[in-house]
Amino acid sequence: MTDTQPDTAPDAGPDTRDEERAEERRHLERREKWIRRLPLLPALLFTIVITQVPFVFSLFYSLTDWKIIPPTPRTFIGFDNFTDLVDNQFFRDAAWVSVVMTASAVLLSLILGTGIALLLDRKFFGQGFVRTLLITPFLVMPVVAGLVWKNQVFSSQYGVINWLLNLVGIDNVEFVTRYPLWSIVIVLVWEWTPFMMLIILAGLQGQPTDVLEAARVDGATNRAIFFQITLPHLKPYLELGTLLGSIYLIQVFDQIEVITGGGPDSSNIPFFVFQRSIGGGWDFGAASAMSIVVVIASIVLANLGLRVLSGLLEGEDPA
């Protein structure tokens, strides 16, 4: 600092001015930060009110025994609802359905979406038209999608598949009854493939062409280019698709309600929560506990999915 120098020692002016300036600068920075945050505040408050507050209520309910029919007073029972879940065969089945349904629907729609995106990522006549058509399944209401598939595709009486099977001499198959879980997974994949396709297509179009040209000049085959250059480039997009897909698909309800009505081997945890609460069980304490488990499972599953995916794509050997 300058105060050791003899010629500035008698006058402490510059030092105080520096401090004043620093104080003023800090003040301005604080102001600047608030100006940046302030416009976000209403949205933040709104989000907290409609998501976090109900979640806190759910947390509280999950620790109580609270049945409405027959009406009983709410009593605090600690973690009993959670420990009961472990022994509940119906809940375990629903949990397994959740895992299979979410994982297979995400994986299949991701693979299909990537395939279609690769086909779309080239110039051809009518490209925009085809792309728009391919997106439509994602725009269809889940209930409508479920109904269309159930009545027009899977149905043993009016379904397209059975009609085709009859043409080649195969007897009717009751798809929804015999394969309830996979019937729902197929509808979910049909709806979510366009979503994955859009994300992957964005990724493909963000890939610099000169890198692909360099790989071609370097002697790479199309296969090698895809697996060694394009797929690693798509990693963040695949991760995003997995994350968003998992979050949405773990809470599927409409398609189950419409297609199987929650019959055996097709009811996931959210559906089971519905059945145990307003869907007829009226046991809000236990249902809240289950929904808490779904939230925790979602977080764990999404993280796990991301880690697995990153691990798959990280495996690249040096030199």
């Binding site: 000169d210 360099a214 480039h233 690249e316 040096p318």
Partner: protein, 366 residues
């Protein structure tokens, strides 16, 4: 290592009238560094990409080492290319980038590592082998792109403006290193640039393109001293050649007070073509300030230290023209002075349509 030949090679982009590269004939000898130079849109990059196989050849053919590669895909052409933006593989380390081509050829890992190390040593890249491209500076990325090319020992190097993303100082330095590396490796190289200084300093021969047509192929010195047409005369050289349209009468051209008797071959050509006007060209170093000659007012003096360029405004018909004269660094001429200047030699004469008027076959020019 191989020679390269373009034979009437033409590229016509869909939906355009004029070919981007128009019937290009060019022979590049083994081990040569040939520079393709021209303004943007001249077709120089397209010509290079046709050789790489990244653009299709619509007419004519392309040969590498005597083999017709016109329809051969890029991966089977045994070439290596350095791209303007380097096109490094972003997810791979420097070592993986450099070893990528070898990996595609199925070279065993130990051999790959050895060759990558060798190339990295030549280019001073050894400390960076484990880094990803995003953690490198522009100059280092450029060297990785070079390394990726040399590690393969290809028959031909293709370079598409490899220095244009470097800052001025690094560009000059890398230019020399690159030319030296090419000479040491002795690999035939086709180098594209829009920078005529780069072309002149690096090329064994330089091919000038404009609007898809080859204008002239010659050694830098010849290109400078005997430009084949008006375009080459104006394009090559910095500052550019003074080009001014002058009237001709009885075999003598006149620029204001300057009489310029035409050489016999030029005079014959002017008469044969029946020209009343020609374009007179003279480089700044072939003009001299003095007592004689024509006069004008100094508009600008560009001081470069060792030399200076004096821009003199002269009357030319109803208009004025700027003529650039090179003088020594210690000149006392300043803006607003009236000066006289004369011609000391090495004049160029062109038909206003572009042709050089004393054009005669020059031995050695391709």
């Amino acid at each position: 290592m191989a020679e390269v030949r373009y034979e009437g090679a033409t590229r016509l982009y869909e939906g355009t009238e004029e070919p981007a590269v128009n019937a290009l004939d060019l022979d590049i000898v083994d081990g040569e560094l040939l520079v393709l130079v021209g303004p943007s849109g001249s077709g120089k990059s397209t010509a290079l990409r046709m050789l790489a196989g990244l653009e299709s050849v619509d007419q004519g053919g392309v040969y590498i080492g005597g083999r017709d590669v016109t329809l051969v895909p890029p991966k089977d052409r045994d070439i290596a290319m350095v791209f303007q933006n380097y096109a490094l593989y972003p997810q791979m380390t420097v070592a993986a980038n450099m070893g990528f081509a070898l990996k595609q050829q199925g070279v065993p890992k130990e051999e790959r590592v050895r060759q990558v190390r060798e190339a990295a040593r030549i280019l001073d890249l050894e400390p960076y082998l484990d880094r990803k491209p995003k953690n490198l500076s522009g100059g280092q990325r450029q060297r990785v792109a070079m390394g990726r090319a040399i590690v393969r020992r290809p028959q031909v190097f293709l370079m598409d403006e490899p220095l244009s993303n470097l800052d001025a100082k690094l560009r000059v330095q890398t230019r020399t290193e690159l030319a030296d590396l090419q000479a040491r490796l002795g690999v035939t190289t086709v180098y594209v640039t829009h920078d005529q200084v780069e072309a002149m300093t690096m090329g064994h021969r330089v091919a000038v393109l404009k609007d898809g047509f080859l204008q002239q192929v010659a050694a830098p010195k010849e290109l400078y001293s005997r430009p084949a047409n008006l375009f080459v005369a104006g394009f090559i050289g910095s500052p550019a050649m003074n080009l001014i349209t002058v009237p001709v009468e009885d075999g003598v051209a006149s620029l204001n007070d300057l009489s310029l008797p035409l050489p016999d071959d030029v005079r014959a050509e002017v008469n044969r073509r029946g020209l009343k006007e020609i374009v007179f060209g003279v480089r700044p170093e072939h003009l001299e300030l003095g007592q004689e000659g024509t006069s004008g007012e100094v508009a600008v003096v560009e001081e470069l230290g060792s030399e200076a360029y004096v821009h003199v405004r002269i009357a030319h018909g109803a208009e004025t023209e700027l003529i650039v004269v090179r003088v020594g660094g210690e000149t006392s001429v300043t803006r607003g002075d009236f000066v006289n200047f004369g011609v000391t030699g090495a004049n160029h004469y062109f038909d206003p349509d572009g042709d050089r008027l004393d054009a005669k076959p020059v031995p050695g020019a391709g």
